[in-house]
């Protein structure tokens, strides 16, 4: 088991965003999280990647506990030093790419491996060039982010996350900022990673993609998991009324 999240609770200003969410991700598994806006999908990813802190529940990476509910019912996190280690397990691809604009594409990919992980420049560059090649943009190594299309920037962002050699990669609506033409090229790359058995959790509104690529689909609404299971079951034969209602919007 790469990641287990148990009974996760999180609120913002009195609003329960996550209510008792539990799910786990196995090695090599691709999990899609779907659901309407404001259902807590993004918050869940942000909690998993330590950008947000949970109020209660357990986060376990590779069998090691990163956070658990303490005796007083409030979440207790591992030490900052240990969290640094937990962070190295996960990568996150943002909706808005968030590349570093003042760094070249290559530097975007090698800076963190070199200065966070202490990898040598030669090794970091070799890894980076390999990833860029895989993303089909090795000719852009010396370009700057502003010179790239949105689709290319997002592929760089995926490569940047992969350059840290994470155990699990999270995607927060990776194609929502892209027009349909560019969406395809990014989905193709994610599909390719799935074939290579990269463990991934993808928050997405691309239903055909979620159905085709994932091993499991989680449907969230109102801070709870309404339904989860095999994509064919969830998409073609949903059990819950709320799921049916949500998926109907996407047919047409």
């Amino acid at each position: 088991m790469i990641l287990e999240m148990k009974n996760i609770r999180k609120h913002f200003d009195g609003l329960e965003v996550l209510e008792d969410i539990s799910f786990s991700v196995d090695s090599g598994e691709v999990v899609s999280i779907i659901g309407p806006s404001g259902s807590g999908k993004s918050t869940l990813l942000r909690c998993a990647t330590f950008l947000e802190t949970i109020d209660g529940g357990e986060i376990i990476y590779m069998g090691e506990t990163a956070a658990h509910t303490g005796a007083d019912g409030v979440a207790v996190y591992a030490s900052p030093q240990e969290l640094k280690h937990f962070r190295s397990y996960c990568g996150l691809v943002f909706q808005q790419f968030n590349l570093f604009p003042h760094y070249s594409i290559l530097k975007n990919l090698i800076d963190a491996p070199m200065h966070v992980q202490g990898v040598s420049r030669e090794e970091a560059e070799e890894t980076a060039m390999g990833l860029l090649k895989k993303m089909g943009i090795e000719d852009k190594a010396n370009a700057y982010p502003y010179q790239l299309s949105g689709g290319q920037q997002q592929r760089v962002a995926i490569a940047r996350a992969m350059a840290m050699k994470p155990e699990i990669l999270f995607f927060d609506e990776p194609t929502s900022a892209l027009d349909p033409e560019l969406t395809g090229e990014v989905l193709k790359v994610i599909r390719q990673l799935a074939e290579e058995k990269m463990t991934m959790v993808v928050v997405t509104h691309e239903m055909p993609f979620a159905k085709a690529v994932s091993n499991r689909v989680i449907f969230m609404d109102g801070g709870v998991i309404v339904e989860q299971g095999d994509p064919r079951d969830v998409f073609d034969d949903p059990k819950e009324e709320r799921t049916k209602q949500f998926l109907r919007v996407f047919e047409r």
Binding site: T49, F50, N98, L99, P101, D111, A112, H115, Q117, Y144
Partner: protein, 215 residues
């Protein structure tokens, strides 16, 4: 007094003007960053003190501040510090300009999208690395036009040191003009300030250009 004697007499003042200018920048550019970071402190009393400091520095004339730094120690505390003129000038300038630079830095820091911090955090950069490697270089580019403005103002503000009878270009120009009943010293001073600021513009434009490689 011939033109060349005037010029050579005033050149001593030019060096003093340049000294105020350089020392003020050396002191206030880094101090401004410290002030900007304290202004964003999580500890409310620190934020309050810094806000008050910035407010006073921006809300009162620099000329008045210079007088306070020079005469304050004696009139307020009865201290008699010998040879305090030049240190008082530099203290006044540095503290005043640090307040302005701090606000420019703060504006720059706050204009960096939250996503940059989050991307850095997920990649495992420490807070210090994030600031030095990701945030600061982008802030530098954003604030450069405002900094140029401030530096140009400083060149002209150095003339306020005449308040404390410091013999920089402007003081000398006034003295020589009065004693020689000549307008020429003011022309020389004017040309000096203009040329100095032209140089500032050229240098700053070059720095801005060096950061043009990205958007």
């Amino acid at each position: 007094m011939t033109f060349s004697t005037m010029l050579s007499t005033m050149s001593a003042g030019m060096i003093k003007t340049a000294l105020i200018f350089v020392l003020t920048l050396v002191g206030s550019l880094p101090l401004g960053m410290v002030v900007a970071l304290l202004r964003k402190s999580k500890f409310a009393p620190v934020r309050g003190i810094i806000k008050g400091y910035i407010s006073i520095m921006r809300g009162t004339p620099l000329m008045l501040q210079l007088l306070v730094w020079y005469f304050g120690p004696y009139y307020l505390f009865g201290w008699n510090i010998g040879n305090w003129r030049f240190p008082a000038i530099i203290t006044g300038f540095v503290l005043n300009y640090a307040a302005y630079f701090a606000e420019i830095y703060r504006g720059g820091i706050e204009s960096i999208p939250k996503g940059q911090y989050e991307a850095a955090e997920v990649l495992g950069y420490t807070k210090f690395q994030t600031f030095m490697r990701i945030i600061l270089p982008q802030v530098a580019k954003i604030i450069m036009p405002s900094v140029t403005n401030e530096v140009i103002t400083l060149v002209k503000d150095t003339s306020l040191a005449f308040t404390l009878a410091y013999q920089e270009v402007f003081s000398l120009a006034k003295q020589i003009s009065a004693s020689q009943t000549s307008f020429m010293p003011f022309v020389i001073a004017g040309v000096f300030y203009f040329v100095a600021n032209y140089l500032v513009e050229v240098v700053m434009a070059r720095i801005e250009k060096s950061m043009d490689y990205y958007k």
